[in-house]
C-alpha cells in the first residue's frame, strides 16, 4: 500500500478535527433573521449527527474483522448495534427528551430526586465511557500501523492527543453539522471501495465455495509475523521461511513443519504457496477445528456459541440507550415527538451503514486469509483494496478507508471524551469547580490511553461489546423502570445500578485481564449481559418493593411530564416534595 495517500487522508481528517476544535469553527447560523436562527435542529440532521458519533471503530473495522475470523455468527453485531435504537425508540427516546435531562445522571436525579443515585450513575457513565474509548484508541493504533507501519501505541496516542486538544480547547462546540458530515464521510468511505471490491470479486468469477472450507491462500503470499506466534498445526505444512522457527534460523529455505505446536518469532517472514490452508494460531482468534464459517453456532469461537450469541444480543439491544454520547444528542431535539422521529431516521441510516462491513468480512476471508494467521483481522477493511487492485486505484481506495476509519475514531472518541469530561467536571470532581473542564478532559482521556498501553490484542468489536454489556446492566434497568414504573425508589435504583452494573463491570474486568480462558466461567464472564441484565432489573424491582414507602413524592408529576406529549396537557400543579 502506498503510504503517502493514506497518510494524506488521515492528516486531512485529523487537521479538520483540530481546526474545528481549536477555532470553534461553527457551522451554525449567523444571520440577523430570527426566524431562521431560532429554528431547531431538524430530525434528519440530528439523526445523521447521532449516527456519525455512534459509528465507531468497532463498526468501521471490528465487525468486518470478526465476520472474517468467525463467520456469520458475528452478524449479530451489526444487527444488535442497529436494533438497540429500536428499543431506544420504543421505550426511551420521547420520555427521556421530555424529562429535560441532558445526561443520564441528570435523568436519575430528575426522576428519583436523589443526589446519591446521581453520583452512582455518574460513575457508571465514566466507566462505560472509558470502556468504549479503549477500543477506539486500539483501532486507531491498528489503522495507523497498517497504513504506515507505525508502532501500535502511536495511533492511539495520536487520537488521544488530537481529541484531548480539540475538546479542551474548543469544547467541540456546535458539532451537530460536523458529526452529520462525519456520518456521510464514513458511509462514503466504506461504500465506494465496497462497490469496487464487489465488482472486482465479480470479475474474479465470484468465487463463493471457499466460504465453507477452511480458509486457504489463493496465491503465493508473504506474511510478516509482528508478534511471536504459537501455531498448532494439524497437517504437515510446507512454507518458505526468513527468520526463526522453533529457535532455528532460516534464510529463505523451504521448511516442512510436522504436525504439532510450533513457535514463530516476531519479525519472521513466512511465504505460503498457493492453495495452502491457513494454519491455526493458538493465541489468535481463529480456529478451524470443526467450524463452518457460513453456518451459525458451529462452535468456532466459544465453547458455548448459543449462550455467547444471546449475551451479545442482550447487551447490544439494551446497551445502546445507556451510551453517554448518544443520550446527550437527544437533548437537541425540540420535543419528544422530534426525538422519536430522529430515532427512526437513525435506524435507517445505521441500518444502511451496517450492510457494508459484512461484505468486507466475507471478501477478506477470500482475499486476505493471512490475517487469520497473525490475528490482525480488524485490519481486513484496510488491506482489501491493496489486495484486489494494487496500483494507484487500490492506494486511493485504501486512503479513503483509512481516512474514514480515522473519522470514526475521532468522532466517537471526541463525543465520548466530551461526555465523560462533562460528568467528571460536574459530578465526580465538583470541588475543582466548573473551570476545570480541561483538567477533566485530560483525565477522561488519560485512563483509556493508559489502559490501551496495558491491554493489547482485545478484538475491537469485543471490547465495545463489553461496554454495551455494562451499559445494558446498569442504565437499561434505570431508564426502563424509571420511565415505565411508578414504584421505582432511589434505594432500588441505587442497588440495581450497583448490583447489575457492578457485576457486569467485574466480569468485564476479569475478561480484559484474561483470567478464565475456557469453558463456562469464560463464557459467563465474557458475555455477562445474559445474567447481569436480569440481575439488575430484579434487584431494582425487589429493593424498590421493599422500600415502597420511599417512592419520591413528586413521582406522579414527573411521570406526567415524561409521558404526556408537550402541549397536550393543561397546567399540572407541581407537588411539593416533602422535605425537599
Amino acid at each position: 500500500m502506498n503510504q503517502a495517500y493514506a497518510v494524506a487522508a488521515v492528516a486531512v481528517v485529523v487537521l479538520a478535527t483540530v481546526l474545528i476544535g481549536a477555532y470553534g469553527l461553527r457551522i451554525s447560523r449567523t444571520t440577523s433573521d430570527f426566524y431562521v436562527a431560532s429554528r431547531s435542529v431538524p430530525p434528519r440532521l440530528n439523526a445523521a449527527a447521532i449516527s456519525g458519533e455512534y459509528l465507531s471503530a468497532a463498526s468501521f473495522l471490528g465487525v468486518a474483522g470478526l465476520v472474517l475470523a468467525q463467520g456469520v455468527d458475528m452478524l449479530w453485531y451489526p444487527v444488535g448495534y442497529t436494533a438497540g435504537y429500536l428499543v431506544l425508540l420504543v421505550f426511551v427516546a420521547a420520555p427521556l427528551r421530555r424529562s429535560g435531562a441532558y445526561t443520564l445522571p441528570d435523568f436519575a436525579e430528575d426522576r428519583l430526586e436523589s443526589k446519591r443515585v446521581r453520583r452512582v450513575a455518574s460513575a457508571f457513565v465514566v466507566g462505560v465511557g472509558w470502556l468504549y474509548l479503549l477500543p477506539q484508541l486500539q483501532g486507531a493504533g491498528l489503522t495507523l500501523g497498517v497504513v504506515t507501519g507505525a508502532p501500535r501505541w502511536l495511533g492511539g496516542a495520536l487520537v488521544a492527543v488530537v481529541v484531548t486538544a480539540a475538546v479542551a480547547a474548543g469544547g467541540m462546540r456546535s458539532i451537530t453539522f460536523v458529526q452529520a458530515f462525519q456520518y456521510w464521510l464514513k458511509l462514503t468511505a466504506l461504500l465506494v471501495p465496497a462497490i469496487f471490491l464487489v465488482l472486482a470479486w465479480q470479475g474474479d468469477g465470484a468465487p463463493r465455495t471457499t466460504f465453507d472450507e477452511p480458509a486457504t491462500f489463493r496465491e503465493r503470499t508473504k506474511v510478516t509475523v509482528e508478534q511471536t506466534l504459537r501455531l498448532n498445526i494439524k497437517d504437515p505444512l510446507g512454507v518458505a521461511v526468513h527468520g526463526r522457527i522453533d529457535g532455528v534460523r532460516h534464510t529463505g529455505d523451504k521448511v516442512a513443519l510436522p504436525p504439532g505446536p510450533h513457535r514463530i518469532d516476531a519479525g519472521t517472514v513466512l511465504e505460503f504457496a498457493k492453495g495452502t490452508a491457513v494454519p491455526e494460531a493458538t493465541n489468535g482468534a481463529y480456529s478451524s477445528a470443526g467450524s463452518r464459517w457460513s453456518r451459525p453456532l458451529s462452535g468456532s469461537r466459544d465453547d458455548h456459541p448459543l449462550y455467547a450469541s444471546y449475551g451479545l444480543i442482550i447487551a447490544t439491544f439494551l446497551g445502546t440507550m445507556g451510551l453517554p454520547h448518544v443520550v446527550v444528542r437527544f437533548y437537541t431535539s425540540p420535543n419528544g415527538r422530534a426525538a422519536r422521529r430522529t430515532t427512526v431516521v437513525v435506524l435507517g441510516l445505521i441500518g444502511a451503514f451496517y450492510l457494508l462491513p459484512p461484505v468486507y468480512g466475507a471478501l477478506g476471508r477470500l482475499y486476505a486469509p493471512e490475517l487469520l494467521l497473525t490475528g490482525n483481522t480488524d485490519a481486513a477493511v484496510l488491506v482489501l483494496p491493496g489486495k484486489l487492485f494494487g496500483g494507484v486505484g487500490g492506494d486511493l481506495l485504501g486512503a479513503l478507508l483509512a481516512g474514514g476509519a480515522f473519522a470514526a475514531f475521532l468522532s466517537t472518541a471526541s463525543g465520548l471524551t466530551l461526555s465523560v469530561a462533562g460528568v467528571l467536571t460536574q459530578d465526580v470532581l465538583p470541588s475543582l469547580g466548573i473551570r476545570h473542564f480541561r483538567l477533566a478532559t485530560c483525565l477522561a482521556m488519560a485512563v483509556p490511553t493508559a489502559a490501551n498501553a496495558a491491554v493489547s490484542n482485545l478484538p475491537v468489536a469485543d471490547a465495545v461489546g463489553l461496554a454495551f454489556a455494562v451499559s445494558a446492566s446498569s442504565f437499561c434497568p434505570l431508564l426502563v423502570l424509571g420511565i415505565w414504573w411508578r414504584g421505582l425508589t432511589a434505594a432500588g435504583a441505587l442497588s440495581g445500578l450497583l448490583v447489575g452494573g457492578g457485576s457486569a463491570l467485574a466480569a468485564v474486568a476479569a475478561t480484559i485481564s484474561g483470567r478464565p480462558q475456557h469453558g463456562w466461567p469464560h463464557a459467563l464472564l465474557a458475555w455477562p449481559a445474559v445474567w447481569s441484565v436480569p440481575l439488575g432489573f430484579l434487584t431494582m424491582v425487589l429493593v424498590s418493593l421493599a422500600t415502597r414507602a420511599a417512592i419520591p413524592a413528586s413521582t406522579g408529576a414527573t411521570m406526567a411530564r415524561l409521558h404526556l406529549p408537550e402541549g397536550a396537557a393543561g397546567p399540572v400543579e407541581r407537588v411539593q416534595g416533602v422535605g425537599q
Binding site: 461553527r26 431560532s38 431547531s40 425540540p334 397546567p571 422535605g579
Partner: protein, 406 residues
Amino acid sequence: MIALCVLGTVAAAVALFAAGAAFGRLSARGGRAKDLGTPVERATFHTLHTASLAAPPLRAGLTEDTARKAARRLRSLLGTHALCLTDQASVLAWDGSGGHHRAQVMEQVGQVLENGRSQAFPVTCDDMDCQVRWAVVAPLTADNGALGTLAAFGSRESAVLVRATNEVARWVSVQLELAELDRSRTRLIEAEIRALRAQISPHFIFNSLAAIASFVRTDPERARELLLEFADFTRYSFRRHGDFTTLADELHSIQQYFSLVRARFGERLDVTLQIAPEVLPVALPFLCLQPLVENAVKHGLEDSVAKSRITISASDEGAEAVVVIEDNGVGMEPERLRQILRGEGGPSSGIGLCNVDERLRQVYGDDHGLVIETGVGAGMKVTARIPKYRAGVHSGPPLRRQPRAD
C-alpha cells in the same frame, strides 16, 4: 420567644453532643474499649442517640410517612408498649401493640387539642393479653397552635410515663417548629424568585405605542403588523404561569421586541445573531435575556446618535449553554456597574441587569451570575452561562401551554 426556646434547646443539644463526642474521643485515645463512661452516662448517650435518629424525619413535618419513621424511634426512647402519633383528625402512625385502640384514642385527642394540655386516662380493653391499659396523650404544638398529639401507652398508671411523654412531646414540638421554619424559608425563596420576575418597562410600552401611532396614517399595514407583534410580545411577557421558558421562546420574544424597536429607530439598529441550534431547547428563567437586550439597545441607541450594533450569540459548551449579548454603545464605568449589581444603582438605571443577575444566582447558584465586561465608550458584553439541566428547572409544557404558529 419560641424562637429563643428553639435556639436554646438546639444549643443545649449541640453542647451535649459535643461534650459526648469529645468524651468519646478521649476515651478512645485511652485505648480502652471498656472505658465508655458510667452506666448513667451510657444511658444518656443512648437516649441522645435515639433522639438524634428520630429528628431527621420530623424535620420534614408531620405526615404519615415521617410519623411512621419517627414513631419507632420515639417508642424506643420512651420504652413503652405502644406509641402513636396523630394529627388533628386521625392516627398517622401506630408503633407497637394494641392497634385496635385507635378509635378510642382519637376520642381523647379531640379534648387534648382543645385545651392544649396533656391527659392521662385508662384504656378499657376486652382482650386479656392486651398490654395497653393506660394512655398518656400530649399535644404537639407549633407556632400556629396544636398540630397533633403524641400518645404513649403503658400497662399501668405511671407518673414517670406522664412526665416522659410530656418531655418527648415538647421535644417533638421543637422539631416540628424547625420544620415549619424550613418550610417558610423555602416559601420565602420562592416568593423572592417570583418577585424578581422581570417586568417589561412601562416606558417601552409607551414608546412602542407612540411609534405605532406614527404609522397609523402613513402605513396602516405596517401599523397593523406592529400591533400584532406588540400583542404577542405582551402576551408572552405578562403570562402568569411557569417560571421557566426555553431559549427558543425567549429568542422569539426578543425578535418581537426588536421589530418594535426598529419601528422607532429604523436602520440605526444592526442586529447579528449567532445561535447554535443545539441550545434552543435549553430551559431558562422566564424573561432573563430580554432585559439584557433592552439594556444593550438603551446603551447603543438612546444614549448616542451613532449606528448601533448588537450581537447575540448562544453556543453549546457541553453541559452548559453560553449566551453572550454584546453592544458597541457607550459602555459604563466598572465601578458604577458594581454599584448597580449590588442594587445601589438608584431607580433609573440598569434594574434589568441586577434583576437578571439575582435570578440566575437564585436558580443556578452563585457560580452562574452574569459576567459583564465593559468600560466607558467600550461597549458592553454580558455573558450568561446556563446549565442545560438543573433539578426543578423545567420549561415543561405540562406546566404551561403556549400555542405557537409553527
